[in-house]
């Protein structure tokens, strides 16, 4: 079961096998939480959004068709919920521009101050740079360079053609490059 392909687990879950769905969650929980975290800036909110993503997908498991990788569906929902969250926060006057919770804090909590210091410096720069990007740029960067989705899958997730994915990703990377250079974190 633990090594079964996602769609095989889905068919078991549709048949009522909760353990199969739990395997799916365990397999993808960290990457989904990570994506949501980088989109909305709060670990707590990211976990809520990620949980909701799995739950919503479960509610529709019987209607999904394996036209794409299961993770494409999963991240489409996660992306949608994250965008909604960002929009709602902005409506309330809260600017969600980047990770407020620092991953390095976890390292400190685990008694690794040296690792925490390393993480702090490197992570701070990239996180600040990402925070300065639009959600449109941030999402394609995260989907490609963090999650490793192919262009076609990204297109399905953000509902744009592959040509748009290509150009948007290029602009996002260039925007991040310029931002890192401004922050002094890139000397190339």
């Amino acid at each position: 079961m633990n090594t079964s392909p996602d769609w095989e687990l889905v068919s078991h879950a549709v048949a009522g096998d909760d353990a199969a769905f739990a395997t799916i969650v365990r397999r993808h929980e960290r990457s989904v939480v990570h994506f949501c975290f980088r989109m909305v800036g709060s670990r707590e909110d990211a976990e809520d959004l990620a949980q909701e993503s799995f739950i919503r997908l479960y509610a529709r498991l019987g209607r999904l068709r394996p036209r794409a990788k299961f993770t494409t569906y999963l991240f489409a929902v996660a992306r949608n919920l994250s965008l909604n969250f960002v929009r709602d926060q902005r409506r309330r006057g809260r600017d969600v521009t980047g990770p407020l919770d620092r991953v390095s804090e976890q390292a400190s909590a685990r008694g690794r101050p040296d690792r925490a210091a390393q993480l702090d410096e490197a992570a701070a720069l990239i996180e600040r740079a990402l925070a300065g990007l639009s959600t449109e740029h941030r999402e394609v960067l995260l989907l490609r360079d963090l999650q490793g989705f192919e262009y076609a899958a990204i297109g399905r997730i953000i509902r744009r053609g592959p040509g748009t994915v290509k150009s948007r990703l290029a602009r996002a990377r260039d925007a991040l490059r310029r931002r890192l250079t401004e922050l002094g974190g890139l000397e190339l």
């Binding site: 490197a122 963090l146 990703l169």
Partner: protein
């Protein structure tokens, strides 16, 4: 070659999807600026990829499975948030549509939205015949209805596309689901979004 185009091709080259990878490679052998830009983009990609993921506690999966259990037992409260403003929006929509149905009531087959579906499906078939890949792109949206509410102000036309797609692809029984889905969506929209949706539907 325009600067933006160069960046786009270099970015695609990084991902192994450039149109002319051999040409780019040969060009970079002679162009120091492009080599430097390629190196910078590579560094950017590596840094994003090195972002560390937050830890996920055991309670995360437990929370998901608890909700899954509730769903299977039919106990989970719908995530559809129906508040006063939403009810008001439904009343406004009902008044505009000339129907005398109360907030929360399911629309009948004769509802004007159902009539719109006929026009929407014809429009969808026309678009599908012109661009075979078009339909596949919207197939995933059935799983993320809140996304549709977020999109309705920015691109309301796509909302209609998605609902029509869900209807057409999933056959008649699920066309009913699509109509109900649209009803649920309408229930989740605010007045401005509802008005925008109504204007768009009127165009069909």
């Amino acid at each position: 070659m325009k600067d933006e185009h160069v960046t786009e091709e270099l970015s695609a080259y990084l991902d192994g999807v450039a149109r002319d990878p051999d040409g780019i490679r040969r060009h970079m052998e002679e162009c120091a600026e492009c080599r430097q830009r390629h190196a910078a983009l590579s560094e950017v990609v590596a840094r994003v990829g090195s972002l560390e993921a937050p830890e996920v506690g055991a309670s995360f999966r437990a929370g998901v499975m608890s909700s899954v259990s509730e769903l299977r037992c039919g106990r989970r409260v719908s995530w559809l948030r129906v508040g006063f403003a939403t009810v008001a929006a439904l009343v406004v929509l009902a008044a505009l549509s000339g129907l005398a149905w109360l907030p929360g009531a399911r629309p009948s087959g004769g509802h004007y939205l159902a009539l719109r579906h006929t026009g929407l499906m014809a429009e969808l078939e026309r678009r599908a015949s012109a661009a075979p890949g078009y339909l596949e792109w919207v197939a995933l949206d059935a799983t993320g209805e809140d996304f549709l509410t977020a999109q309705v102000v920015d691109d309301a036309e796509e909302l209609i596309d998605v609902v029509a797609w869900a209807s057409w692809f999933e056959a008649l029984a699920e066309a009913v689901d699509a109509e109900q889905e649209l009803d649920a969506l309408v229930g989740a929209l605010d007045e401005e979004e509802t008005a925008a949706l109504k204007r768009l539907l009127d165009e069909y």
